[in-house]
């Protein structure tokens, strides 16, 4: 499953993995904005940014081809609107949509594949995201794998009994009802375990790691690089 693979990649070690999560988040946002606001010379911009992202994947010691394929999940959506634009007589727009959305997805994938989720969430808190929301996301992520596995087991069990097709709609609804109940019971158990270890209504999160000079250098250099690439595209395109 996709999230299992990304989680594994995020546990790797590379110069990119070791950078502060805040720097990587800011860099990714800068990339997304630069992409989003690109109007002219899109072919050149896309190629240059594609090259930069591939370099990023290599620096992060990630499987390049695997990453490129996974980012393509966004393409079907873009294809539909691309087709509509093409039919409306604006083929360049179609390509623009495809290129921008794909490269954006690739950029986010690089971020998440080179940063562990706890660090990512902690960085978002120091960048101002509401704590309550982040803790919900943290618990969601923690139990996502387990509950997905349970759902998969239910699916396999159903498939080996002829699948949901025969038994149909109500059986699938019943399965979800059971999954809901088990999840709710699990949440109750978690709550009890929290109380048993003295929880008083406030989570004590360990502080985010320091933002080092290497991180600052990384942000400035990579950010500057991306900006320069936009400039270069203007000259080349």
């Amino acid at each position: 499953m996709h999230h299992v693979v990304l989680e594994r990649w995020s546990r790797g070690d590379s110069p990119v993995h070791r950078r502060d999560a805040r720097a990587k988040i800011l860099l990714t946002l800068a990339l997304l904005v630069l992409l989003s606001t690109a109007q002219d010379h899109l072919a050149a911009v896309s190629l240059l940014y594609f090259g930069a992202l591939v370099m990023g994947l290599v620096a992060a010691r990630l499987p390049v081809w695997g990453a490129l394929v996974r980012a393509a999940v966004v393409l079907p959506f873009s294809a539909v609107f691309g087709l509509a634009s093409w039919l409306a007589g604006e083929p360049e727009r179609a390509l623009a949509l495809a290129a921008k959305s794909y490269l954006s997805a690739l950029g986010v994938l690089l971020l998440v594949a080179s940063t562990r989720m706890p660090d990512l969430l902690r960085a978002m808190e120091s960048l101002g995201a509401p704590r309550f929301l982040l803790i919900v996301a943290q618990f969601l992520y923690r139990y996502l794998f387990i509950i997905s596995e349970q759902a998969q087991h239910m699916r396999s069990a159903a498939l080996s009994r002829g699948g949901f097709r025969r038994a149909g709609f109500r059986a699938a609804a019943g399965a979800l009802g059971v999954l809901f109940a088990r999840s709710y019971a699990r949440a109750d158990n978690i709550h009890r375990a929290m109380l048993a270890r003295g929880f008083h209504g406030h989570f004590h999160m360990p502080a985010a790691a320091r933002f080092g000079w290497a991180d600052g250098l990384f942000l400035a250099a990579a950010g500057g690089g991306l900006a320069l690439l936009r400039l270069a595209a203007g000259r080349l395109g």
Binding site: L195, H200, P206
Partner: protein, 241 residues
């Protein structure tokens, strides 16, 4: 040495509890635990063993009295009692709810008000005690059942409890995992209550046992005797010990 008067660390008198729908879960339970001993709670499913232990740190509130290390359990003493009584739940996944092992073990100490540095030191010590120090940065999802169980124990140890309660600790553990667990538990100095279905585990760790049935303690005595009396060995008649 003069007469060995053992200190009572837990005293339960006439504990009664009903579920919301009126079913009687505990029907007047008296129980004592002495310092340093390990007692096994045996009995069929639904007899009330887990319900009983959930009262010991106030997660469930029934009628009757519970005194932990001289402290009467009540609304004001809840926090203190929860530090003294550490429960290791049956489902480790529901107990290890933090993103990393170290975060999870530090949860208890931080709640107790320790400074982060001290809490981390305590956590590392607890992880070493259970032999899981190298896993400190890992996500609980990636641990085996036995590893999760040991981390859960560490999370409780880090609070420095006087009593350890373990609810079905060998569930889903393979024999090596079970052996590792027994090794860890044998070395811990705390008084222990062991809820278990596993006769071998009970014999290995507990000299004394009580047998729960329909919300009451039906019998109490040496583990071996209780097991034989209620036919709880898989193969009746003692096999080589």
């Amino acid at each position: 040495m003069s007469e060995d008067r053992q200190t009572r660390v837990l005293e339960v008198r006439d504990l009664r509890y009903r579920y919301d729908d009126g079913t009687v879960a505990l029907d007047g339970v008296d129980f004592d635990l002495f310092e340093g001993e390990t007692v096994a709670l045996l009995g069929p499913n639904g007899a009330g063993k887990t319900t009983f232990v959930l009262h010991l740190n106030g997660l469930l509130r029934g009628s009757g009295s519970i005194t932990v290390a001289g402290l009467k359990l009540g609304a004001e003493t809840l926090t203190e009692v929860r530090q003294k009584v550490g429960i290791v739940f049956q489902e480790s996944d529901d107990q290890l709810f933090m993103p990393t092992v170290l975060d999870d073990v530090a949860f208890g100490p931080l709640n107790m008000g320790l400074e982060p540095a001290e809490a981390l030191a305590r956590s590392r010590w607890a992880l070493e005690t259970v032999g899981m120090a190298q896993a400190h940065g890992r996500a609980p999802y990636h641990l085996s059942a036995g590893e999760k169980r040991r981390v859960a124990i560490a999370g409780v140890l880090a609070m420095n409890p006087e009593i350890l309660v373990l609810d079905e600790p060998t569930t889903s553990l393979d024999p090596p995992g079970q052996r590792a667990l027994v090794d860890v538990l044998e070395r811990l100095p705390q008084s222990k209550i062991l809820v278990t279905h596993d006769p071998e585990l009970a014999c290995a760790l507990a000299r004394r046992a009580v047998f729960f049935d329909h919300g009451r303690i039906a019998a109490s005595g040496k583990t071996d005797e209780i097991l034989n009396r209620f036919g709880w060995r898989l193969r009746l008649g003692a096999r080589s010990a």
